[in-house]
């Protein structure tokens, strides 16, 4: 075992390298760029064999990725934010090709306003595409889940592309100790890609991704993709066990932290959940039985595991680092659907926080826990909360004041 300090981006690149990917179609975007630069260096030095091709857009990049996977090679690619959205037509198109590959998304808030730091509206926009998606909270998880993603994507019961998500800045540029598994151990866990019947060769012509002209065949193929995505849940259990045998690290659809005997549970995805774990420790010291449930996989959606983990809790606060305008938190709505009608369901509250890299300090977690337990005790459910402090509002007002002064300076009439 080789332990190194790696950024989340470097861990993603190491995942691709250890998976012995053949092909990397690439396009730069902050905060993902370090991944493709790292891989490009390794290809140039001959430390990886195959090819990295710079495309001219993410739309073309995802097309090339899926086309290469459909030709029979193992493919890795990466993007962020606007790039993922620029590719969105193809993100929705290629899962139906049933040509598996792995795309790492380094989450970053979406325009407008344009920004660089993390939230999850980018990756959640792919929710209904047919890509599976897994969310990582540590650099180790990034590396591990790139390897796991290939096993699940390529499994004959699944055959779907997978997005491995990590948070921009908080994880992409943070160095953590990462165990790099030995190449031989990875090769045993992840054998070479078997393209099965999805490949192009002269001796066996195939037509891929053809049109249908009616709702019935269309529904048939859409249902097949959906059922394959659902089937990935049991495949995941199997492969997670093999992963544990091979590398000694547990994984699964959910990560739970002190939630078994908790009264109050924070539900979050990604690196932000590590702050919730820290807050839970402090809350426990103060006598509040707090815990954290962190879904790793959102597609397939682990509804049964979430019901089991949250049954009997007094209060559950979903902290969404995303915002569906006019509706609220995406994860909250999904969890509400999963828990609806369940006996001994907890009070379920929606909190929006951490947009565009906005920090959620420990005090806010403490306050959320206190208030949510209060609502639960009164048998009430609070309206959705948008985290924003008076101090932040004052800072925005200062920016606005500068803008007004500068306008006046330019002689513009108010």
């Amino acid at each position: 075992m080789n332990r190194q300090l790696l950024t989340g981006n470097a861990a993603a690149a190491w995942g691709a390298r250890l998976a012995q990917v053949d092909y990397v179609p690439a396009f730069p975007i902050t905060p993902q760029t370090e991944i493709i630069e790292t891989l490009a260096r390794w290809f140039e030095r001959g430390e990886m064999t195959g090819r990295l091709t710079m495309l001219e857009s993410e739309h073309s990049m995802v097309t090339a990725a899926a086309a290469a996977a459909a030709t029979g090679v193992r493919v890795f690619t990466a993007t962020s934010s606007q790039g993922l959205l620029y590719a969105m037509e193809m993100v929705f198109t290629v899962p139906g090709w049933r040509a598996p590959f792995v795309l790492v998304n380094v989450s970053r808030g979406l325009a407008s306003p344009i920004t660089l730091e993390s939230d999850h509206n980018d990756v959640l926009a792919t929710r209904d595409s047919g890509f599976l998606q897994v969310h990582c909270a540590t650099c180790q998880e990034v590396l591990d889940h790139v390897l796991l993603a290939y096993r699940i994507a390529e499994d004959s019961r699944v055959r779907l592309p997978v997005i491995v998500n990590l948070d921009g800045f908080t994880l992409s540029f943070t160095r953590e100790p990462v165990d790099l598994p030995a190449a031989e151990a990875v090769q045993q866990f992840l054998p070479p890609f078997d393209p099965q019947n999805v490949r192009f060769r002269a001796s066996k012509p195939v037509s891929q991704a053809v049109a249908v002209l009616a709702g019935s065949p269309y529904s048939y193929f859409r249902y097949e993709t959906h059922l394959a995505a659902q089937q990935a849940l049991s495949v995941l259990d199997e492969i997670a066990e093999q992963f544990f045998q091979a590398f000694g690290r547990r994984t699964g659809p959910l990560a739970t932290y002190r939630s078994e005997d908790a009264d109050m549970v924070f539900v979050m995805i990604g690196a932000g959940a590590t702050k919730a774990c820290e807050a839970a420790d402090r809350l426990r010291e103060a006598g509040v039985a707090a815990g954290v449930v962190r879904p790793r996989w959102l597609r397939p959606y682990p509804a049964a595991a979430l019901r089991a983990a949250l049954a009997g809790k007094k209060a559950v606060a979903v902290i969404d680092q995303d915002l569906s305008m006019g509706q609220g938190g995406v994860l909250h709505a999904e969890l509400a659907a999963a828990l609806y009608g369940m006996p001994n369901a907890p009070m379920l509250a929606s909190i929006i926080g951490g947009l565009g890299g906005r920090n959620i300090p420990p005090e806010e977690f403490y306050e959320i826990a206190k208030r949510m337990l209060g609502f639960a005790a009164r048998g009430e459910t609070p309206p959705p909360q948008l985290l924003f402090t008076e101090r932040e509002l004052r800072q925005v007002r200062k920016l606005q004041a500068i803008a007004v002064v500068e306008r006046k300076e330019l002689g513009e009439k108010p």
Binding site: Y23, H59, F200
Partner: protein
């Protein structure tokens, strides 16, 4: 090449593309594709963008004996990049025997080739992608009912230009745009001139790198003429100088056929309903003169 195509009797006598496709009767694009496919052969993967010919392969039927991949409107060249890169990787790592290799072909209409797909096309040429791009140019978004595209000729009526002056823009010079990238090969063809077409496909097939075959595709439904006239209209497009048959190779443009004498453009325009407004209810001499002057200027520059 010993079996080089020199005369009509050298053209392939076996026809590879299946029949019974949903293309319109008299489709000039399908006419060209039949001939192209006979020369290219079946060791091909056609990477297609949204357009009329997307309907060639509707589950579970295809007229192709080789392979096919539909992508989307903007990105067929990127699909070809992924396929070509993957084939190269498989060949290099000896996971694919050389005899299983495929020619990577992009097949799109003018909407993708002149417009939405131009960025991915330009980038594929920049990367010196080894592929053959076939554009069937029916001078409008034919599959959706012939709205104007960047390939629509000046003054033609379209579903979005129904007035007496027709389309106000000018047909974009895709040949010139390709040639400016200094690719391996660019050629214009038309199904109505099968010998010229076959020679060019044979030449394109012998080369490596980015290659474009730009086929004018007379379109009975979009241009409004009787399907039986398709071949004759194609010949008139060449005779009138509207569609120059030319090649770009080794940095030079060669005109394969300089029509002499050139038929007046009117003869070509009169065959198609999309230009009927130039002749009735009254003759539009100004617009007809402008169209003829454009063609004369083109050929004056060629003959200089």
């Amino acid at each position: 090449m010993s079996d080089a195509i020199r005369r009509m009797k050298d053209l392939p006598s076996t026809h590879l593309l299946g029949t019974g496709t949903p293309m319109c009767a008299g489709c000039g694009g399908l006419e060209a594709l039949h001939q192209i496919y006979d020369v290219l052969g079946t060791n091909t993967v056609f990477v297609n963008a949204a357009g009329c010919m997307t309907l060639l392969s509707v589950y579970p039927f295809t007229p192709f004996r080789g392979s096919w991949l539909y992508t989307a409107m903007a990105c067929a060249p990127a699909g070809a990049q992924g396929v070509r890169d993957a084939l190269d990787i498989l060949l290099t790592s000896k996971r694919l025997p050389p005899e299983d290799d495929l020619q990577t072909i992009v097949l799109t209409g003018d909407g993708a080739a002149y417009g939405m797909g131009l960025s991915s096309t330009s980038a594929a040429i920049d990367r010196n992608l080894d592929f053959l791009y076939i554009c069937y140019d029916n001078e409008g978004y034919g599959n959706t009912g012939q709205q104007s595209s960047p390939a629509t000729p000046h003054a033609a009526q379209t579903a979005t230009n129904t007035g007496s002056r027709g389309f106000p823009g000018y047909k974009k010079d895709l040949f010139g745009i390709w040639a400016a990238h200094r690719p391996a090969y660019v050629a214009t063809v038309i199904g109505a001139e099968p010998l010229d077409l076959a020679k060019k496909i044979e030449k394109a097939k012998s080369l490596r790198g980015p290659r474009l075959i730009l086929a004018l595709a007379p379109c009975p439904t979009g241009w409004d003429f009787d399907p039986a006239e398709s071949v004759e209209i194609g010949r008139l497009a060449v005779r009138s100088g509207v569609w120059p048959l030319k090649e770009y190779i080794d940095g030079k443009v060669i005109h394969n056929h300089v029509p002499h004498p050139r038929a007046p453009v009117e003869e070509y325009l009169k065959t198609q309903g999309r230009f009927a407004h130039l002749f009735s209810p009254e003759r539009n001499d100004a617009l007809l003169g402008e169209i003829q002057a454009h063609i004369d200027a083109y050929w004056a520059a060629v003959n200089k």
